[in-house]
């Protein structure tokens, strides 16, 4: 079983050139595996045609979970398990519970969202990142094209398309999984 991937990497040094390059390459029928960039480039995800992130849904659900947990906890504690008169209010005085409910909603929504993001993008402390090119942590943008996904197009053709779109270098890269 060969667990290696063959990439052609286009190296760009300007995000504006990169943005136009993405649409040119996609327009030429070449599938882009991923674009790596040292900083967020506005409009890149639109150009790459990424689908909308589902992260907000996770955030909403975790938030609702927080609301439910907080209310259940307080109602059970102060209304059922150990009823206490506080300030002459009812045992279950909803307005009193709102600050805690709000905080737990925010907390769970935030933690849940971060956790979901880490899991879904497979980020973990012991992960050994396979950088296609060390310069993406500095000043270069890399457009990675997986040859296995572009069988219809000739590798040399991809290379020249990258050059034409403004890449300052075109490199081959083999990655062992």
């Amino acid at each position: 079983m060969s667990d290696s991937k063959n990439f052609i990497l286009g190296v760009y040094d300007d995000e504006d050139v990169l943005l136009h390059a993405v649409s040119k390459i996609r327009g030429a029928g070449i599938k882009i595996d991923e674009v790596y960039s040292p900083f967020p480039v506005h409009g890149l995800d639109d150009e790459l045609g990424y689908k909308k992130s589902k992260l907000p849904i996770a955030a909403f659900l975790f938030g609702m979970l927080g609301t439910t947990l907080a209310l259940t906890m307080q109602i059970w504690m102060l209304g059922i398990d150990w009823p206490m008169i506080i300030g002459g209010k009812n045992f279950v005085a909803i307005p009193d519970f709102i600050p805690v409910t709000f905080e737990l909603t925010v907390l769970l929504a935030a933690f849940g969202m971060v956790g979901t993001f880490l899991v879904s993008s497979d980020l973990k402390p012991w992960k050994d990142p396979k950088l296609l090119d060390i310069r993406i942590t500095d000043d270069k943008h890399i457009m990675a094209i997986d040859l296995a996904k572009n069988k219809a197009v000739d590798a040399a053709q991809i290379g020249s398309a990258l050059k034409d779109s403004g890449a300052v270098e075109v490199n081959d890269k083999k990655v062992e999984e």
Binding site: H42, K52, P56, F60, G87, P95, I98
Partner: protein, 470 residues
Amino acid sequence: MSKEVFDFSAGIKKKLAIAFISGVVLLLAGWMLSSTGGHEEEHSEDDHTELAEADDHGTDHDAAETMEAEHHEGDDGHVAEAGEHEAEEEHEKGWFDRVVIDLWINNVYFTGLALIGLFFFAIQYAAQAGWSTYILRIPLSMASWILPAGILMLLTFLFFNHDIFHWTHSDLYNEFNADGSLNTHFDSLVAGKASFFYAPLDAGTFPVFFVGRMVVFFGAWILLFRKLRSLSNLEDQLGGTSYWYKMRRTSVAFLLIFAVSSSIAAWDWIMSIDVHWFSTMFGWYVFASWFVAGLALITLITVLLKENGYLTQVTSNHLHDLGKFVFAFSIFWTYIWFSQFLLIYYANIPEESVYFVERMMNDKYSTVFYVNLIMNFFFPFLVLITRDAKRLNVFLKIACIVIILGHWVDFYLMVTPGTLGESGAFGLTEIGLYLVFGSAFLFVVLKALSSYALVPKNHPMLEEAKNHHI
């Protein structure tokens, strides 16, 4: 090409005229209904009279007393001294009183919308914001209502102050009458606050300080508005960045003044209605209410202009930012609302909690109390929570209209219980006057909007607005 300037066409003017006239008709219909005894909406008045009549110092006494709420500032008596029930009968509140109160509600509400126009304009400059450049002329136009609002506010106060503000009654301030007998109307709490209204004159004469503040605030706002407008027009004609810097300085000056004046205006114009009561959150509360309503109006006008072929440069990215503003500040309003409510509810000090007893625990207003929360928090929160909703015209329109109307309800709830009390109502009269004010407001705003290019021609941040992407 002709779409660079807003065309205030005869068709739009006709629509506004129809709204104005139907407002007047509704007002008159409200008057007819209330005077011919057709109490479809004013059943409360019957209740009121019955209660007052049944109140022959008999056994019904207590029930009536609680119904009328202990701290009934609107009526003449400070009912803390039980036994002053005659005072309530002499103040039979009818259609005219409702109109006066609605006049005040609409004055404060529309003044706020106009002010927020200027405030929004100013923060864009103070924050060096570029994304909003395309829509800057909309809030600037809204601010042209400040001048008519100031005149209306002053006139309404001068003519009807006794109907709106309990503290304007001169008999509250002297412990003894001229003949040396004890003045039963004396109110030591209000007398203690007298100088805030009357200084440097004697309490109970003419409220120089109060009216002076009103005049100074409106004067400063109008002055700075005119300065900003003329600078913005000069920039259109002459170009260059120097006008941007001048506008930035003027904006900062306005923001500093507005920070103080909006708060004091809120105490003066609304909080002093419930003159025994106070809340340190109130300035923020009124500001938050104004701000979210103003943002909703800016967004609504932007969307409507866009739908009618104007502002083609405005993309869903700009709308998204406006939508986020509306969403965030409807939550901000709720936050302020709740902060005020929770502290008062939790401490439960009678002189503070009376405010919510009158609104939340009262048969007449408790519905309005919850409707207020639903319209201004739950509805916009759930409608605007997703990203797509903030980028689509239809969701923005629905949420903005509900918020704009919702904050009228908010002001209604701030003003009416303290003035009309049990005779307050919501009916044709209220809708009519809102239409009258709304159409006049829109007339002034749209006329101003048609007087210059919709998008500032030489604004230094046009390019940034063009490339705005989120």
